[in-house]
Subunit: 231 residues, 2 copies
DNA sequence: TCAAAAGTGTTAGTGTTACACCCATGA
DNA sequence: TCATGGGTGTAACACTAACACTTTTGA
């Protein structure tokens, strides 16, 4: 008779992963939410989530779930918080590890999203959500704001080439306040992470504004060292 | 025949809680670690931890574990991160939710600590730790540093009455750098959260330095609004 | 009276904020 | 040519960092 391997004596928990997916479009910060076509809380809005499998790490789980919803890989992802109140899920005890993701909305696979009944909502006009998902969004937003203040993280949400005005609008959307155009671009340019191209984007204005891309090396450098955009 | 209640189909995980306990003593930032007298990794140093029970929330679990180790209740506690690599625990799959706690070392129940074979280590002279506990400490430290920069959190580590120099030393210990005495006290006093008493503490110097306590109302206010101590 | 640490004051320099003004272009 | 949004320049102000100087008291 073989001895069974030692295991800890402890309660076991089902562990969910919920993803707050941020995108930026039409000068608005948006959230990807799904309309649940399954119980519990069928017909309500919720974050995209799923259960963690025994053979994957937390970030692998989050990546898998995001891939299912958006078709994207190599997404910027950050763990935010674990929600673990005893009654947070009405069905049974479930812990939820909450991540936020930043995606370029243009790359998002709309057909795939539709198949999950997913919709983009402007952050300020989000619907009521199930369970503690509202708290999760609050937590993710405050984390995003803090992060964007000292790392050039906002760029994850913009296309490869973007105008200074788009970047400004993004920061205005994230912080829900206005920034002075001159001061903002001075600040950003002084970081030395942007490369100005000769192209101009017309449309928003008659004059058109220059497109920038960023210098990956300085970008990584600044990301590491940190800076301060808002005070 | 009664229908069984609906449950989710999902893998189950054992969930540990690990606590990084910070204290401040002799002008050093210290960590409370335990010398394990049980397997696995018996005889090595580790953080104080335990398993989450099915009927308690994460923060209740952390409080319980801290109470077991220190005899203290109403401790400042903050969730840091969940560690969930598949192989992080050699025995079996365990997720660990990591908290840090700030305690006043004078209030700590030494006898109780001794019964767990717990010891205080200066942060810079901590021993090698089991599993991913070193990473946990790194994460907690960087969280603590960030926090202490915009909330008056450091006070949780000092006794009721303390000198400006002790506060300065605490910040120097947290950030592992020196601060200018004049600039530091100007900055702190300008927050308006300190009340100067008439008492002086001798010992460190011949002149002695004034004891301060803090004004709870302004303290809470500033804590909410935030500020910036280091830049 | 001197050394050591507490505590105050001064100043140069840097960064932030507010706002005025110029530029390019489609209508 | 004018209205519009892009983009630049500048001056006032606030905050920071560095350091000199004064105070108190035990040895």
């Amino acid at each position: 008779m073989t001895e069974a391997p030692f295991t800890y004596q402890a309660d076991a928990f089902k562990v969910a992963i919920d993803c707050i997916v941020f995108g930026f479009d039409q000068n608005e910060l948006k959230l990807l939410l799904i309309h649940r076509n399954f119980e519990p809380a069928q017909g309500n809005w919720s974050l995209m989530g799923g259960f963690l499998s025994i053979n994957e790490s937390l970030s692998d789980g989050a990546k898998r779930i995001l891939y299912q919803l958006t078709g994207l890989q190599d997404i910027y992802l950050e763990q935010v918080y674990v929600f673990g109140d005893v009654d947070r899920d009405p069905v049974e005890r479930v812990l939820s590890v909450c991540f936020y993701a930043l995606i370029k909305i243009e790359d998002y696979d709309e057909a795939l999203g539709n198949s999950h009944d997913a919709h983009w909502f402007p952050v300020q006009q989000r619907p009521e959500l199930i369970f503690d998902h509202e708290q999760m969004i609050e937590a993710a937003l405050s984390r995003l704001r803090r992060r964007a203040g000292y790392q050039p993280i906002g760029f994850e949400l913009l296309p490869e080439k973007f105008t200074m005005m788009q970047l400004l609008n993004l920061y205005e959307a994230i912080y829900e306040r206005e920034f002075d155009v001159g001061n903002f671009s001075k600040k950003i340019l002084s970081l030395g992470i942007l490369v100005k191209t000769n192209e101009k984007l017309r449309g928003e204005s008659k004059k058109g504004s220059y497109l920038y891309s960023f210098d990956q090396a300085s970008y990584d450098n600044v990301k590491e060292k940190g800076f301060r955009i808002i005070g």
